[in-house]
Symmetry: C2
């Protein structure tokens, strides 16, 4: 395929899988590096290579014949990526941007330095420092403690509600502590910036979290916002991606406070859970948009064509073992419901096993369909 | 994946590829049999097996661990499929239905016997018989001669316009001869019938053919028909699939005569070129619908969500060799244009190298976008 560069993806999880699926439309050659062939992306990569994307030598060896390298997870060692960049491989998002984002402390400092509204925060070196600050009365629960690195899917975040939670519920390691923002809504805006500098922004989505798993439960698009707020959310996301000069997707998570203020919570430089619905609901999916951006192609039209509601399909509580989709047939009888399964052989409580996007004439219709599907489908452990 | 049967597809061309892509949403395990790994479906099959789907032993060996077997082309030897059916493998479409359809003579006789309107025809055993009928004055050009078996993508069809075309332009072998129907429009209706007997019909599409290559050039949906005609077209397709008792998709090609009569031209028991647009334009794609039908799952909603125009992407005239997509970047700048490339390493004149679906607020908008893309993209031969 003489037109197309060879693309490598570090990570073969569901985001890597969905990038492979998007690439399949153009028959784009995609190489994926991850531990073993049980990973979601493996069957849909042109070439799947076993290896550890956190290992310097594995990454260098993986990229030896590739033209462009991207990631599906930012919590990686970027040393090899810096080396590849020096060797002339296009690495998008750029390694220095990944370094900035994966350390939540640096990320927050970037916002402060660039005049981007974010929640107030303080940095601490250790759990003990946080404990001391509480004991001295400098820091008062409720607050949110986040480890500076390694947080993902609700990991690395502690919500400290009461004085008695300290020190037992505190997390180890360098961290930041934020006030509990006075939040009306949690929003996300996925924005793309191409290697050519072109920027396009997807419609704002509204998120609701599962009460115990700290994972997004419902995502609706369009968000129920007045036009002014919606416009400000898009503009803020564009501002962040342009100031960071990221190439690729940037998912910008925002808080809308009860005062109507928009604050950046955090960002991810890759396809994001809050953009899954774009596969069916938008003129261009976030996955195709990421490919366009990192390959320097014109960005696609991000318009929403149809209201959508998305749910993550999580492993049922109390079930660990071989995956079984109970209620599968019933779910498929609901119109405009699109389940995506990630093919994980084993389930465990709250594991992300797939997602499901429902469309409808209105958000209410889409959401009702998604909720109906959710009530029918249980991902449980059962031998075949 | 304990819920899912193991599915096999005979044939790894673009239709097989798009079945694999649809199956990837559910992470359904798909086995594909075809000659070698250069075939379009190979990178997207869970398991790709080298072999000849026209070879009895290869097919039997391929299916030894499979639960359900389907096809992406009906011009195959069905002996192995009959054997598999006897062994308890679910073969959809059923082998006897494939036998019926792949012989255009038997197919036409079926329509006559079941009161399904079709063009008038006569069967002949050889080219010489056709020649004699013309010489005797029993048969008068213009007419269309079709070989009873082996016709595909414009192969096996001769349009005999003048007396002087006989015998030189006649095709060899058993054939049928049809009147040149007095055609206003050529239509296609893709309909699905599930293993459970459920039937759902996709919206009618209107086709326009390339003037020399005898391949569909433009496909538009919805077709420009009055409601009565459109309803009759859907009803006719449902009638055919129910009378044939096919399990899976059936693409029903229809002629609308200048008198407003609808005649069945021919059918194909598989995903069809006239259903490519369903990937982006309909609530359920024809590929997912075929999977649902043959797996006995509830059929999806076939509603058109957005007007569409589809073009086949053909190899440029005068170009044979390594494929190069000239104008690729420009095409991607057009909104709501979805090119699908089949990854064929070599191009040749009029070879089907891909297709492209454009959406829009209206058919006119979709068609203008598709035409613009077509004028920009040339699939040529060029070394990398």
């Amino acid at each position: 395929m003489s037109n197309f560069p060879k693309l490598g993806i570090l990570g073969g999880g569901q985001l890597g899988k969905m990038l492979c699926q998007a690439a399949s439309e153009w028959h784009l050659p995609v190489y994926v590096l991850d531990k073993d062939e049980s990973f979601p992306a493996a069957p849909y990569a042109t070439v799947f290579e076993r290896g550890n994307f956190r290992d310097y030598d594995d990454v260098i060896a993986f990229a030896r014949n590739l033209d462009v390298v991207t990631i599906e997870i930012e919590h990686i060692d970027t040393e090899a990526l810096h080396k590849l960049e020096k060797q002339g491989v296009k690495v998008y998002p750029q390694p220095d941007k990944i370094d900035l984002i994966k350390d939540k402390g640096l990320q927050k400092q970037f916002y402060v330095e660039h005049g981007i509204a974010t929640t107030d925060f303080k940095l601490y070196g250790t759990k003990e420092e946080v404990n001391r600050a509480v004991e001295k009365g400098e820091l008062h629960p409720p607050f949110v403690q986040k480890t500076r690195t390694g947080g993902y899917d609700g990991q690395g975040v502690a919500v400290i509600r009461y004085r008695e939670d300290v020190p037992d519920k505190l997390l180890d390691g360098p961290c930041l502590v934020e006030d509990m923002a006075d939040i009306d809504k949690e929003l996300a805006v996925v924005v793309a910036r191409s290697a050519t500098g072109e920027v396009k922004v997807f419609p704002t989505v509204e998120m609701e979290f599962h009460p115990t798993a700290n994972l997004v439960e419902f995502l609706i698009c369009p968000a129920a916002l007045d036009g002014d707020t919606d416009g400000r959310a898009s503009k803020l996301a564009v501002d962040v991606v342009q100031q960071m000069e990221i190439v690729g997707l940037l998912a910008v998570e925002l808080f809308l406070t009860n005062d109507g203020e928009l604050l950046v919570n955090e960002v991810a430089p890759r396809p994001h859970n809050s953009g899954h619905h774009t596969i069916e609901a938008c003129a261009t999916s976030q996955y195709e948009q990421h490919l366009r951006a990192i390959l320097g192609l014109p960005l696609g039209d991000p318009s929403l064509l149809r209201p959508a509601a998305m749910i993550n399909l999580l492993g049922a509580e109390g079930h660990t073992g071989p995956t079984y989709y109970d209620g599968w047939t019933d779910v498929l009888a609901i119109p405009e419901v699109h389940p995506h399964l990630y093919g994980k052989a084993d389930t465990r409580p709250f594991r992300k096993m797939g997602h499901l996007t429902a469309l409808g004439d209105t958000v209410a219709m889409a959401r009702e369909r998604a909720a109906r599907a959710q009530s029918m489908l249980k991902i449980i452990a059962r031998e075949a």
